[in-house]
Amino acid sequence: MSLSTTLEPSTSATIGSSSGPKFGVVRFPGSNCDQDAFYAIRDVFKKPVEYLWHGDTDLRGCDIIVLPGGFSYGDYLRTGAVARFAPIMERVVEHANRGKFVIGICNGFQVLCEAHLLPGALMRNAYLKFLCKYVTLRVENSGTPFTSEYKTGQLLQLPIAHGEGRYVCDEATLERLNRTGQVLFRYTDRNGLTTSDGNPNGSLDGIAGIANETFNVMGLMPHPERACEKILGSADGRGIFASMIAAAVRATK
């Protein structure tokens, strides 16, 4: 959550630099990291950004769609299960199917799985607690539009804040994810090893973030938007936004 509501823009007009790819941050009822994402994009990366209302059916020309963290529709039934059918999601699915970029953070990752834009599902943490802390992640594949600013094997400190972040999928899917480099981030211990101590929620194979087969849709449980400035504890999340911006610029050339 943002510390202050003064960050809330008074209009839905595009704010930020007029140059570079335009971000759209989707707001579902119950989203609560929408302002954090908006702030990071506008104030840290100086890129144009606007909010997209869940009930709308227009992406307003946005190049990169962000599904933020929170508890969309109260997380009733299953996390992301109802948000997946919001009117805006039809446009988001079309956007993804055209090869455009979509990133889902935390609840946004859950929504992307429910929408079948990413394989697998996110279940209740293995040890039941809601976890709100920094974790160590290892970058597993730096050759993607979401990770090009990192090096494969690089360790990141990012915050997590979730009760249902245990990634699961069937064996065939897991084999494919590992073989094709779709696993982008894995939970590790401080030494970069995938141990059970380093896996906060019991995710299968320590999976913290994955991409789709065409590497234009990505979901992760940790919150890079909360880790874009040293003063907030870590700036390790910047690389994800910087990578997407660079990739979107390349795509328009």
Partner: protein, 84 residues
């Protein structure tokens, strides 16, 4: 008007973290004979549909609802019962 009772269960291969905690609590209460607890969901749907709708028609609707929204086929199984 028919009523549909839907029971949703987690796939057997998946860890049921809630069920495990309830099992531990039962053991702590002395019910050591409980070897596993699995927690699912139970839903009742009141169907305001014409009384002459065929059983096949109801089945098709219920299956579609279960597969689109009521369950996530990646992690859950379901079964249901139609009560006329």
């Amino acid at each position: 008007m028919p009523q549909v009772k839907v029971i949703v269960t987690l796939k057997p291969s998946l860890l049921d973290a809630q069920g495990r905690v309830v099992q531990d609590a039962l053991h702590a209460l002395g019910y050591g004979g409980v070897s596993e607890v699995r927690i699912g969901k139970y839903m009742e749907l009141e169907m305001a549909i014409p009384s002459n709708t065929s059983n096949d028609g109801i089945d098709a609707q219920v299956k579609e609802m279960c597969e689109r929204l009521l369950t996530n086929p990646v992690i859950e199984n379901y079964r249901y019962e139609v009560i006329s």
